[in-house]
């Protein structure tokens, strides 16, 4: 019989060994990539924290001229940027990844700080509420717990695209963070997701683009 027909256990194990090395090297490189991205996200967060604190101090120092600052919308855009990246990491590493949860908590706190400053600016400068400078708080839940959150996300992306000065802050209601709990208490936000606080007015449930605009128009 042709000796080439013989099954070689030695050869099979050798290939298996190299396959395992290649395969797990691939997995390891992927993990390194994830870790590098998390690090860059942490750096990004640190920069943003400095910028927010700086704006906060700027507000305190220039009590009467905060209406003129432009830094505010820049930070708002960067917050959105961080949100996109966080969402990506969440999908990659999982909703229960500790690094993601921690960064998300930081992000939420930063959002609240920004939101407080935005409110202060509106009050102090007597800015009239329009659809373009509306302030939205969006409460969502991850995973399969919220059927309409995906659609609500699309609606908010869409309105933000059309009204660039609109400020949208998103909060995961499942995030164990006392400040989110406090915020929900103030506005009586239920467990229903998605929920929205649009210019300080609470709305429970999903709103499509038309209803969303109508809601704001009715406020004015």
């Amino acid at each position: 019989m042709d000796s080439r027909k013989n099954f070689s256990i030695q050869k099979s194990l050798l290939i298996l060994f190299f396959t395992i090395i290649i395969f797990f090297s691939g997995i390891y490189i992927g993990k390194l990539g994830d870790a590098a991205k998390m690090n860059s996200l942490n750096d990004f967060y640190d920069d943003l924290k400095i910028e927010t604190l700086s704006t906060e101090i700027e507000f305190q120092l220039m009590e009467n001229s905060i209406c003129e600052t432009n830094d505010f919308s820049i930070i708002s855009d960067r917050l959105n940027d961080l949100s996109i990246k966080l969402n990506y990491m969440e999908n990659n590493l999982g909703f229960d990844d500790e690094r993601v949860i921690r960064l998300k908590k930081y992000y939420s706190i930063l959002e609240m700080k920004h939101w407080l400053l935005a409110n202060k600016q509106i009050k102090q400068c007597g800015i009239a509420t329009t659809i373009n400078n509306s302030i939205i708080l969006y409460f969502y839940a991850n995973g399969n717990n919220c059927d309409d959150c995906d659609r609500q996300g699309t609606v908010l992306s869409y309105v933000k695209e059309n009204y660039p000065d609109m400020k949208i802050y998103s909060f995961d209601i499942n995030l164990d963070l006392p400040s989110i709990t406090a915020l929900r208490k103030i506005y009586n936000v239920s467990d229903v997701t998605p929920s929205l606080i649009i210019n300080n007015q609470y709305h429970e449930g999903y709103l499509d683009a038309t209803d969303f605009k109508e809601f704001i128009e009715n406020q004015n």
């Binding site: 994830d34 990246k85 969402n87 699309t154 992306s157 499509d208």
Partner: protein, 425 residues
């Protein structure tokens, strides 16, 4: 989009991991085999000329028979040792008359033509086999033609009495259309695989066109059988069961016309795949340690890969359908005002570099390397980049689809008929 919340589907990741691991393992195995036998892949042209009969079974081939016969006459082989036998399997056109006329022009060559009632390809082959005493024989379908050195390259592989058959390398002739290009790449990878299988003593399909057999073996084991309309698969399995050898001559090129219609390709593949399953079932005892690589590695991995393709096909279809429905619902929420949505947000950060992506990339690179080797081994000079892109996007889907339909046909116990057009052989 920046607030989209997604669910992580771990089944998908698991499927990719299993598929890539299996893919990398088999690819590495095949690469090692080719590397080990790199000096023996080809043999010198023969200067010994045993008698060879080439059978041309035809059914309504009046348009192509002359081209096929001309390519056979152009073979670089000692004239008195080459016999050409045309068997008209009950054609209703002028195949027989045209062949007779052709023979008149080449009276110095050993060409015969017979006409019989239609009985299917295997009966035409047997009809010719009963009328030849040549030491070796092969068949050439009327829509295929051979490279002039093909036979001189094949004969040296009959180096031992244990070699019962030698397969050539099949290529698609000048692929132009979408489907032809896909078949072109498929055949090219087939050239690589057949050589690997030969080096593992595990060729389990001897392609119809121009595989050359030892006549004694085929006659003594009962000639061709109906074999679920895939007599070439049955013959290969028969040789393997007898513990004999099937060799491959990688530079013996045979050209075949690619199928251009989706339906004829589908029909061909259903016949091939269901024939493969039925024949392997008939020879199920091949799945044993006695048959070494074939029984323990090659046949099981053939079925495992088909299973993986079918599972991934269903998974992708279900997942993409769900995604599409979600996408439509999302667009509905903004009244389909797609022009006011920013689609072009690009950030290097968002390029997927997770483990699943890296492992998939590794297996893609291994696949590309195999394709590069296949291209080199098949002597292909033209660029195949465009064809390969089409192949990458579409082939696995078509492959899975053909297999699903073949299995369904088997489950329904529907008879798969032999297509009469020879390019469906």
């Amino acid at each position: 989009m920046f607030f989209i919340v997604n669910t992580m589907i771990t089944f998908g990741d698991l499927l990719i991991y299993v598929l890539t691991f299996f893919g990398i393992y088999t690819s590495m195995y095949f690469l090692l085999i080719i590397f080990q036998s790199r000096k023996n892949l080809k043999r010198k042209l023969t200067n010994v000329y045993p008698t060879v009969a080439i059978i041309v079974p035809c059914f309504n081939e009046q348009d192509t028979i002359v081209k096929t016969l001309t390519s056979l006459l152009n073979l670089d082989y000692q004239k008195d040792k080459l016999e050409i036998i045309v068997v008209d399997d009950g054609s209703s056109d002028n195949t027989y008359e045209i062949t007779r006329k052709f023979i008149q022009q080449y009276k110095d060559r050993n060409i015969k033509v017979y006409k019989k009632t239609n009985g299917g390809k295997f009966t035409a082959l047997n009809y010719a086999l009963e009328r030849t005493n040549a030491e070796f024989f092969g068949a050439l379908d009327a829509d295929s033609f051979v490279d002039r050195l093909a036979l001189r390259r094949i004969i040296p592989f009959f180096y031992s009495k244990d070699v019962a058959a030698v397969t050539p390398s099949m290529k698609v002739y000048e692929p132009k259309t979408f489907l032809e290009r896909i078949q072109g790449i498929e055949f090219m990878i087939g050239i690589f695989l057949r050589k690997v299988f030969a080096e593992l003593g595990s060729i389990h399909v001897t392609p119809g066109p121009f595989s050359i057999y030892r006549t004694d073996f085929v006659k003594s084991t009962g000639y061709y059988r109906k074999a679920h309309h895939t007599e070439d698969i049955e013959m290969a399995l028969r040789i393997q069961q007898k513990q004999l050898t099937i060799e491959n001559s990688i530079d013996a090129y045979v050209y075949t016309m690619g199928l251009t219609s989706f339906n004829s390709l589908l029909k061909q593949r259903i016949r091939w795949y269901s024939g493969f399953i039925k024949n392997v079932y008939d020879y199920k005892d091949l799945f044993s340690t006695k048959h070494g690589n074939l029984g323990l590695f090659i046949l099981p991995s053939s079925f495992i890969s088909v299973l993986f393709v079918i599972v991934s096909l269903f998974y992708v279809i279900i997942k993409q359908t769900i995604n599409l429905i979600d996408f439509i619902f999302n667009l509905e929420s903004i009244n389909f005002d797609i022009f006011n949505l920013n689609w072009l947000k690009f950030d290097v950060f968002l390029i997927n570099t997770n483990s699943v992506a890296i492992v998939s990339l590794v297996s893609l690179l291994v696949g590309l390397f195999i394709l590069y080797l296949a291209k080199r081994l098949s002597g292909e000079k033209k660029s195949i980049a465009f064809s390969y892109i089409i192949y990458m996007v579409v082939y696995w889907f078509l492959f899975g689809f053909w297999w699903v339909l073949s299995v369904l046909r088997l489950v329904n116990k529907k008879e798969v008929k032999w297509g009469h057009k020879s390019n469906e052989l």
